[in-house]
């Protein structure tokens, strides 16, 4: 009996238009999104997404990198000998790769002096200067100079240089214990971000040291709010849609509509659930928040962490606007389903867009005022999470924030109106399948 029931359940489900739309439509939908992201990334990366292809200039006062340059020739020689005579030769490069890690290719430019590198940096020929001071072997210090600090801007460059410095040491004959410790130490601890002293151009065109922890924390708090928006949406959208579907299935909706205006009912549902979502976040924060907050607060003096309540407040406003915007669309579209399952399938179309900015976080952070960042920030389906990520960089001009907020408010108003129309029709409709053309017709003719 179970088998028969299962078979018919399967048949009924796969024949449902909503199932077919999601099954075949969703991959197309996701493909379009990914295609769009790739097109934008490939086509405009060079000027929109600064920092993704970092051009590195190196000033090496130790000469270790010159030793390291021989590794490619060594590897070639190894290969040739293995092929010709079947004998092994143990070059330093091969030893290094066997002991530690694969050596990344070197595409950096070498400069004799810091001044020469600075000129290249100023002219835009390079994006970052890695300076290896003469006392590197004793201190392990590396200095990194950039025009402007970016979260994902110059993480890899010092790492690659440090790898070559270790290789250079290995290549050099007669290593001291301290030098061997550096080579091995890299394997154990890795080249930590903190070991690199980072400078950016400040007032008076002078390099000033950057407190990376402070910068990262300053980014993390507002960016965390963006993440919470997505998380809260994911969690609560199900409740929102299920609630509407249940009322429709229970046929409570018609009585409700005789008591309350459709837009009131819709907004009431969205706001009620927004409140529940906020309460949920508050409870989570209350349960888990004190620890990082106390640590951050207590350590803020020591690490120079700067609280940015303005940014957090604006992020919270975008959070609320975003939740209401997505919530309104979810209720409208969710009301078209014939049951909870169908309604949740329709809601997937609203749940995907807010994820896009998260997928593009590197591009948004590296160029918060680039063409892509602005376009996503002004397009309502992506606006709220995009703006929260952009705000986290602290570089978005006020007019840009205001414009985005105005567009989002207007879009939220429009979303409520459109969803109210969909809800008015969808909530009272029974047993009819939906597709985009039919939805458009209903909107137009209702």
């Amino acid at each position: 009996m179970t088998r028969i029931v299962a078979w018919y359940e399967f048949l009924f489900t796969v024949k449902r238009p909503a199932y077919l739309i999601v099954t075949f439509g969703l991959p197309v939908f996701i493909g379009m999104y990914i295609g769009f992201i790739m097109l934008v990334s490939l086509g405009t990366a060079s000027y929109v997404v600064e920092g993704l292809s970092t051009k590195v200039g190196v000033v090496d006062e130790t000469g270790l990198l010159e030793h390291a340059k021989r590794y490619e020739a060594d590897l070639e020689e190894d290969k040739r000998r293995r092929n010709e005579k079947g004998t092994e030769i143990e070059s330093a490069a091969r030893r290094f790769e066997e002991m530690f890690e694969k050596i990344a290719p070197d595409d950096s430019r070498t400069f004799a002096t810091l001044d020469a590198a600075r000129e290249a940096l100023d002219s835009g020929d390079i994006d970052v200067i890695i300076h290896v001071p003469i006392n590197h072997v004793e201190t392990e210090a590396i200095d990194c100079f950039v025009r402007k600090w970016k979260l994902f801007g110059a993480i890899a460059a010092p790492q690659r240089v440090r790898q070559r410095l270790r290789l250079g040491l290995l290549q050099r004959a007669g290593l001291s214990d301290a030098e061997m410790a550096i080579i091995r130490g890299g394997d154990e601890d890795g080249a930590s971000l903190g070991a690199v002293t980072l400078y950016e151009l400040g007032a008076g065109d002078q390099f000033v040291e950057v407190n990376q922890i402070q910068r990262i924390l300053g980014f993390a708090v507002p960016a965390g709010i963006a993440g919470l928006l997505i998380f809260a949406l994911m969690l609560n959208a199900g409740f929102l849609v299920a609630g509407v579907a249940e009322e429709k299935e229970n046929k409570v909706i018609e009585v409700l509509l005789s008591m309350v205006r459709v837009d009131q009912l819709l907004m009431g549902k969205v706001l009620g659930l927004s409140g529940a979502a906020l309460l949920q976040l508050f409870v989570w924060a209350a349960m888990a928040g004190p620890i990082p907050l106390i640590v951050a607060w207590a350590g803020s003096e020591a690490i120079g962490f700067e609280w940015r309540p303005g940014v957090i407040l604006i992020s919270a406003i975008f959070f609320m606007l975003g939740f209401v915007f997505y919530g309104a669309l979810l209720v409208g579209l969710g009301s078209l389903g014939n049951n909870t399952k169908e309604s949740q399938q329709y809601s997937m179309y609203i749940m995907l867009p807010p994820i896009v900015p998260i997928l593009m976080v590197v591009a948004l952070v590296n160029a918060p005022n680039g063409l892509l960042s602005r376009a996503l920030g002004w397009f309502p389906l992506f606006s709220a999470p995009t703006m929260m990520i952009r705000l986290a960089t602290g570089e978005v001009p006020i007019w840009d924030i205001l414009l985005s907020a105005v567009i989002l408010i207007a879009s939220t108003w429009a979303a409520v109106r459109v969803s109210a129309r969909l809800f008015r029709i969808g909530a009272l409709m029974r047993g009819q399948s939906m597709n985009p053309i039919r939805i458009a017709r209903l909107l137009f003719h209702s």
């Binding site: 009322e247 229970n250 409570v252 018609e254 005789s258 008591m259 137009f444 003719h445 209702s446």
Partner: protein, 312 residues
């Protein structure tokens, strides 16, 4: 007293080939203190009429006026004065009855205390008091039905719109609802009754509007409609057969009486005059009117219904 007017109201759904004209140029009015029966076969447009009155749908053409003002402008206040019991009943199955009452009261603009004060006697009257703390899902179909009727009149509405209020009720509860309707009418409230139970229509309605395929096909006071749709029929207790009289169309024997059907255009006076002239006597006579059920069946069952045939 509340007054509702529909003037040339039309409503369609969809477009192009899939367009459905749910309501076509419908006009009617109803005033407080009367019961209006909205009748018609399934798909006639009755529910669309009600949904437009409640502003769930907006009409494509025509005007809906409440107390002389356009419906849309007065809707928020009008909603507070309306009780609506839809044909497809729905309740939050997982909630407690007291919570549902409280939520409904709040939506109707009542305070908690007001809701409690009004709900208590109604719960007693509908024999639901013992269930107040229980979940809706524990109620039987009939009890759920009564709870919905209770919820609809909780705020002492001026207008009651009941769509098939008797379905699912046992005869005792049918009486209960009937009394409720009559009480409200006597208190000057307007009752709109959509039902297929013609006995209830005949017992409760002052005026009826019958719809067919979105159009109004009958409208007017109940008795006038019945009279207008009656083949003139006289039941007589008579010795001699009335055949042969000029005004008589046919005669059917029913037990000890005879049903005499008069020719079109002939009246009771014609019959009496011809009986007297023919020297025939009768012991008893009664005028027969068709029941509203017969009228409904004949109009709704007709394959082509002409609006010109409606009674005004």
């Amino acid at each position: 007293m509340t007054r509702i007017e529909f003037q040339g109201v039309s409503k369609s759904f969809g477009g192009g080939a899939s367009r459905i004209d749910a309501v076509r140029d419908v006009s009617f009015e109803a005033t407080g203190g009367e019961t209006l029966g909205i009748l018609g076969p399934n798909g006639a447009g009755k529910t669309t009429i009600i949904r437009m009155l409640l502003d769930v749908f907006r009409p494509d053409a025509g005007e809906i006026r409440v107390d002389g003002g356009l419906n849309g402008n007065r809707l928020d206040t009008f909603r507070r004065r309306v009780a609506y019991l839809p044909e497809e009943r729905g309740l939050y199955q997982k909630r407690k009855i007291s919570d549902v009452i409280e939520y409904t009261g709040a939506l109707r603009g009542l305070s908690r205390a007001e809701t409690r004060d009004r709900a208590t006697p109604l719960l007693e009257r509908f024999e639901l008091a013992a269930y107040a703390r229980k979940k809706v899902a524990t109620l039987s179909k009939g009890m759920s039905q009564k709870l919905q009727i209770l919820l609809s009149v909780l705020h002492d509405p001026d207008v009651l719109i009941f769509d098939e209020p008797f379905s699912g009720l046992d005869p005792v509860n049918v009486r209960l609802v009937r009394r409720l309707v009559l009480e409200h009418r006597e208190r000057g409230k307007l009752v709109c009754l959509c039902t297929h139970m013609m006995s209830e229509v005949q017992a409760l309605c002052d005026r009826v509007m019958m719809m067919h395929r979105g159009s109004r096909v009958l409208y007017g006071p109940l008795q006038e409609i019945r009279r207008a749709h009656t083949d003139y029929q006289v039941t007589v207790d008579i010795d001699a057969a009335p055949e042969g009289l000029a005004c008589v169309d046919r005669v059917e024997r029913v037990e000890n009486s005879k049903n005499v059907y008069l020719k079109e255009g002939r009246t009771l006076s014609d019959f009496l005059r011809e009986m007297a002239m023919a020297g025939r006597t009768m012991r008893h006579m009664s005028e027969g009117l068709r029941s509203i059920e017969d009228v409904f069946v004949s109009v709704a069952g007709a394959s082509r219904v002409s609006v010109s045939g409606e009674a005004k």
